[in-house]
Amino acid sequence: AQSVSQHNHHVILSEAASLELGCNYSYGGTVNLFWYVQYPGQHLQLLLKYFSGDPLVKGIKGFEAEFIKSKFSFNLRKPSVQWSDTAEYFCAVNRVGSARQLTFGSGTQLTVLP
């Protein structure tokens, strides 16, 4: 069975610091990759997605992620975080062709200090 690992459970940064959240998955075939964000009291929202093509994808609110197939990774980055980025971030993977479900990581809680 596929699995998704997010190694950083809680990250605390000051405003303007750079962010990188790790995501690794176990499946060796073709995958669709997603990052979702859950702001306090709000529902899961899609930040960005990768289906194919350019492995560097840009999402909303200045976030980007890079798909490195050889490392089974899809790390999320932002050059300069803001207090409003405080939220929980989830990486999710979908195996193309055989499985329809999203497999989620356990999430990373990001706290940005003003």
Binding site: V4, N32, F34, Y36, Q42, H43, L44, Q45, L46, K49, F51, F90, A92, N94, A99, R100, Q101, L102, T103, F104, G105, S106, G107
Partner: protein
């Protein structure tokens, strides 16, 4: 454009009872997936419905069942509730023919006492 809606927002039940949760997909979507999110964890896939049939199922017991209606809305039913069923239940909608990009609703918070 209405997003994914779920009802009720909160629900409190006792052990052994049965519960029904409801979901209306985003306009234009034909597929509904259900997830269980326990506190401090990522969502876990329960099952997915398309064309009123269960298309895929995660590792959940038969106490969890569902239904999809001709208007694409869906219900999740849980029988013989256990304390461990307490969680946030999320509904997500998507296009079956697409890349499985799923849009989530606000969830139903179920508490089992």
């Amino acid at each position: 454009d209405a997003g994914v809606t779920q009802s009720p927002t909160h629900l409190i039940k006792t052990r052994g009872q049965q519960v029904t949760l409801r979901c209306s997909p985003k306009s234009g979507h034909d597929t509904v997936s259900w997830y269980q999110q326990a506190l401090g964890q990522g969502p876990q896939f329960i099952f997915q419905y398309y064309e009123e049939e269960e298309r895929q199922r995660g590792n959940f017991p038969d106490r969890f069942s569902g239904h999809q209606f001709p208007n694409y809305s869906s219900e999740l039913n849980v029988n013989a509730l256990l304390l461990g069923d307490s969680a946030l239940y999320l509904c997500a909608s998507s296009l079956y023919s697409g890349h499985n990009e799923q849009f989530f609703g606000p969830g139903t918070r179920l508490t089992v006492l």
